[in-house]
């Protein structure tokens, strides 16, 4: 089975009772000692490795030696998931719009606060990344927004 995480492609193949992983032109031997409840005890080329793994849609959470990493499964063509839109400012986290300071057509300067939102008791300022003109404002005061929702576009 071939899978791509972000830009890395890896192929897992069963070999009798064990597996091999093909990655970067090399084969790695894997033996599963135990796999249950989101945890795997493995021998990778003879080295004991314990990994906790969880999945949520395309995301994979992996903990190894106490370090947690997040990987994103992609089709392999895309360079990961894009988090910015051209000139569009997106919500960094879910929350509520507290104030909108600009309207469509208004000229704004780099660093100017365009709107503020509140999340987890914090006030967050959304500021212009460049000088420009407001192309669209997609939210109103009091509105609840989701993470990565586009709030305002500047061009």
């Amino acid at each position: 089975m071939k899978t791509t995480f972000d830009t890395q492609t890896i192929e897992i193949n069963p070999t009798g009772e064990n597996f091999t992983a093909y990655i970067d032109g090399k084969n790695v031997n894997i033996q599963i000692l135990r796999a249950a409840n989101g945890r795997m005890d493995l021998l990778i080329d003879g080295q004991r490795v314990t990994a906790h793994v969880s999945s949520d849609m395309a995301k994979r959470w992996v903990t190894l030696n106490g370090q947690t990493m997040m990987l994103t499964k992609t089709s392999g063509a895309k360079q990961g998931v894009r988090h910015e839109h051209a000139g569009g400012l997106i919500a960094p986290m879910p929350g509520q719009i507290r104030s909108v300071s600009v309207s469509v057509g208004e000229a704004v300067k780099k660093g100017q606060t365009l709107l503020t939102m509140e999340a987890m008791k914090m006030e967050i300022r959304i500021q212009a990344l460049k000088d420009g003109v407001v192309k669209s404002v997609s939210v109103t005061q009091g509105q609840t927004v989701e993470r990565e929702q586009i709030l305002v576009e500047v061009e």
Partner: protein, 495 residues
């Protein structure tokens, strides 16, 4: 003693208070907002009352509804926990007016200490050293003049508040105006009071606080210090006791100052007097008094062997605090790490989502206070504290090692946490040597880079898709069978 206590809070602290109630044989009533219908604290309580919508103002900050819930459930006391209404004098007064006991200090004590302006003036009068600064200013020009006199950097903070909200460090005059506006708005929003005060910002300051206890019979003791200097965005993340900086003499002086502060406002129940400590001057300045249980109270519990919540309840019920100052001692060393759902690589922005795995560590000397379990949702409505991880060991060195191992064993999938970040902090020479001041995380520790997935991580992620088909590693519908047979999925790959 009380028969039934309503806990006007949520999350880990609600559960922690309920544990104490159970041990004292007292029934517990949880309250919950719409977002908390299935929260752990609701499941943990003997009874639970719905109090309103998810937004705090509609539920956990709604004094009338909370008092009505206490009356409807026939509770005889209310424990406010920390945050929310815990330092709201009107709430404390309203609880007492409803013939319920408020488990905390009197409304007057809260009021006296809650106002950062008034309390600072009172402390000056009582001979408790305070940070150079000004109170009662009005209008931008006054602030500008005061800041100039004090000298930048200055600190602007809410007169009514605590916990870093409504607080801004201002480095130059050009930042002053917007900082005041933002702080006023946050203060108004968080505390319903937009007044601010301005102080000298001490760059190399350590945050050292003293736990105090008063009973209703006029007895006061302190339970020594907590060093809380590891902070990000003025929020504590790692606390410990004893402080690696204090000499026995300084500890004694600060303890006495804290008791004097408490006595000045006729304090009873648990409280914390926060000081700024300047290691170069070996001087301490009164910062504020938190008139409630602190988030970091467990480190004091571990080194003193006292259960602070038990004593909050007992004192509220009129019991005398049974120990004199000379009977209290610090044993070993305790450290707390606050595990937050936040991303250190994006300026500690909160992270929300469903907890796919939530496995706290355990073992000798390890305590975990948490309000979450696997499968729970971390929402954006409330504080992103997932768990408090606290360790106790014979020495500071052993406690640091124990904490590093405990952080290593703490598995959280589904939201980004600060676990790796905190372990990296513990591994610095500055932390090991006790040199971390309150601005250290921003100025010295620097940027945090997320560890990049290595070969083993890629293999594990890819293998999980093969091995756990239909199991944990796949949220799509498939043919999971008996979740108690760990081998069913791996078929003949079993070793």
């Amino acid at each position: 003693m009380f028969n039934k206590i309503l806990i006007a809070n949520r999350g880990e602290i609600a559960i922690r208070i309920m544990r104490a109630c159970r041990e004292l044989g007292i029934r517990t009533v949880a309250v919950y907002s719409d977002a908390d219908r299935n929260a752990q604290h609701v499941q943990f309580a003997d009874e639970a009352m719905f109090i309103g919508d998810a937004a705090p103002k509609e539920s956990y900050l709604n004094a009338d509804v909370l008092i009505q819930a206490a009356r409807n459930s026939q509770s005889d006391a209310v424990h406010p926990g920390y945050g929310f209404l815990s330092e709201n004098a009107s709430f404390a007064a309203a609880v007492e007016s409803a013939n319920l006991t408020f488990i905390g200090p009197s409304a007057d004590s809260i009021r006296a200490m809650g106002d950062k302006v008034e309390s600072k003036i009172l402390m000056k009068k009582s001979g408790v050293p305070t940070v150079p600064g000004y109170e009662g200013l009005e209008g931008y020009d006054d602030f500008k003049k005061a800041a100039k006199k004090i000298g930048y950097p200055v600190l602007i903070k809410a007169a009514a508040g605590g916990g870093g909200r409504g607080m801004r460090v201002v480095n130059t005059e050009s930042e002053l105006k917007e900082a005041i506006e933002l702080a006023e708005r946050e203060a108004l929003n968080a505390f319903g009071d937009e007044r601010l005060l301005i102080e000298k910002y001490l760059a190399e300051a350590h945050h050292i606080e003293i736990q105090v206890f008063g009973d209703k019979h006029g007895n006061f003791v302190h339970l020594f210090e907590r060093e809380c200097s590891v902070q990000r965005r003025h929020q504590k993340i790692i606390e410990e006791s004893p402080s690696p900086l204090l000499t026995p003499e300084l500890r004694e002086q600060m303890g006495q100052a804290a008791v004097n502060a408490a006595r000045a406002v006729g304090y009873y129940n648990a409280g914390t007097v926060e000081f700024i400590f300047d290691p170069n001057l070996s001087s301490f300045f009164f910062l504020e008094m938190n008139t409630r249980l602190q988030v970091e109270h467990p480190v004091t519990e571990l080194v003193t062997g006292l259960d602070l919540v038990h004593w909050q309840i007992r004192i509220a019920a009129g019991e005398k605090f049974p120990f004199t100052q000379s009977e209290l001692h610090q044993h070993g060393h305790a450290i707390e790490c606050r595990v937050y759902a936040e991303d250190p690589s994006t300026g500690f922005l909160p992270s929300t989502g469903r907890l796919l795995q939530f496995i706290p560590p355990h073992g000798p000397g390890i305590r975990v206070d948490s309000g979450f379990a696997t499968g729970d949702e971390v929402t954006h409505f409330y504080d992103p504290l997932l768990a408090k991880l606290i360790v106790h060991a014979g020495s500071r060195e052993d406690a640091i090692k124990r904490m590093k191992n405990a952080l290593n064993d703490f598995i959280v999938h589904g939201v980004v946490t600060n676990i790796d970040y905190m372990r990296a902090v513990l591994e610095t020479d500055d932390f090991k040597q006790g040199k971390v001041s309150t601005r250290w995380a921003e100025t010295k520790f620097g940027e945090w880079n997320v560890p990049q997935p290595d070969l083993h991580a890629l293999i594990a992620a890819a293998l999980a898709d093969v091995v756990f088909v239909g199991g944990r590693a796949q949220s799509a519908v498939s043919n999971e069978t008996d979740p108690f047979n760990p081998w069913k999925q791996t078929g003949n790959y079993r070793n």
